[in-house]
Symmetry: none
Subunit: 249 residues, 2 copies
DNA sequence: AGATATATTGCGGATATATGCAATTTTAAA
DNA sequence: TTTAAAATTGCATATATCCGCAATATATCT
């Protein structure tokens, strides 16, 4: 097995399970712990995962540079995405940020639906090339390689000129009091600016757990119109979280 | 077995297995490791696979769409690109439009060269992900799928805010009197705006023939500082075209 | 055809990379 | 605090890669 293949394998595992353990994985791959640790260090340096004592965990906003053929976390995202699609109608203007949840939404868009889409995510643009019914606009700015999006003041300025019908933001950390947070300041600012522009604001809570918070605040729950989550979490949120005007689907 | 056949064979293997190993494949083909490595280097340069330590793997996800339209005249473009590289020094700010000639330049940039790059081309961004010494900026706008660039007034506005040291524009139609032209109005406007911003303006004449002109004018030869072309055309241009201040390399 | 240029290939040696092992230090859980 | 697991570090080794060179093959030109 080539080193690069191993790296892909590790990243796929991480995106599926959100964690890996050094000892068990080194056994599975038939390599020494040392080698695997070195792999993890490399991937961590590239910003593709977070190395922790005993293994590694997923970063939020993980790069989709690698194939997701065995990515079962994608199943849940597809399930979530399918709940979003019926909201859109011909002529809608939609603003999307990066992340695999939004990518799942894009992939499920019916071919005949006529939309105008704004995004700062390269994978999303890539997915929408050759879709004749979609008018596609890209928000330029400083390229943030590890997430494959643009960030910075240029994106911010570009956002000020649009008023989308829908804003879709992927978020991995949602907390009833602390609201939406993320671990990177630049990304937090962009997500915040996006949410401010939208007519209907929709977040895709692509976390395996709820009630988590990170350093930088994106918005509070009051700013949100829809929370999209896994089916088995809907009731929990409805019963335990403050009841603003948002809807949980 | 001819080199060309070998290349076909390698690409087939890659698309089937997603990987090949140098040592085992060189045995199978009855050639030396070095030859196979040279094959892989070539195919990598053409963007058809990714060479890694020990072998090669298929190009992953995002890049396939972005790179599959690379055409076959790449060898000549590489030759042209290699003449451009020595002009750049650390700290330079470079503005590039789309097109395979510029892509060839990007691919030859030394890893250690520190540059700031502005572009409206998705393939170029894709090529520059994971290049730590390059500060990358994308010019947002309306996505023009067939050329995989952005166009429109947004790009135009974004251009007004930058003053690059170098502008590199790929052009397939260059004519001694009519100057640089291209067949699409949007693209012509963008290229024109780019050329106006640059300190040193460099065109890559990626045409198989000279003396051609199309509908929309981009610039005249007087606006240009360098014309990069194939070696065997340099003398022709120098002897037969009006002598402005441009240099032919 | 013959001569000359250009490309391709394999080889040897220098260099670089990947990996596992052992010794030491750090971490986190009891 | 103690202790066992995990991580780091330096080192040895096997393997892979790179580079220049010479031999051969192929293409181009007169």
């Amino acid at each position: 097995m080539l080193k690069k293949e191993r790296h892909e394998y590790i990243l796929n595992l991480i995106s599926r399970d959100n964690r890996i353990y050094v000892t068990s994985l080194s056994n599975e791959l038939g390599i020494s712990d040392d080698t695997l640790r070195r792999d993890l260090t490399e991937l961590d340096n590239k910003g593709l995962l977070t190395k922790v004592h005993g293994g590694a965990i997923a970063k939020s906003g993980i790069s989709i540079q690698f194939t997701d053929r065995i990515n079962t976390a994608m199943d849940k995202k597809q399930q979530m995405a399918s709940k979003v699609i019926p909201l859109f109608k011909n002529g809608d203007v939609i603003l999307l940020d990066g992340g695999t949840s939004n990518l799942a939404v894009i992939r499920q868009l019916p071919k005949e639906l006529e939309l105008t889409i704004f995004t700062n995510s390269f994978p999303i643009v890539n997915e929408l090339f050759n879709r004749p019914n979609i008018e596609l606009n890209f928000l330029g700015g400083k390229v943030f390689s590890s997430s494959q999006v643009t960030v910075g003041v240029t994106v911010f300025q570009a956002l000020q000129t649009i008023n989308p019908d829908w804003v879709l933001v992927g978020i991995s950390d949602v907390h009833p009091e602390k609201g939406l947070t993320c671990p990177d300041r630049e990304e937090a600012l962009i997500k915040r600016a996006m949410i401010e522009r939208g007519n209907k604001r929709l977040i895709l809570a692509d976390s395996h757990k709820l009630n988590t918070a990170r350093t930088y605040q994106v918005a509070s729950l009051e700013d949100i119109d829809f929370i999209v989550t896994e089916n088995n979490k809907i009731d929990y949120i409805k019963n335990n979280w403050p009841k603003y005007s948002y809807d949980v689907i």
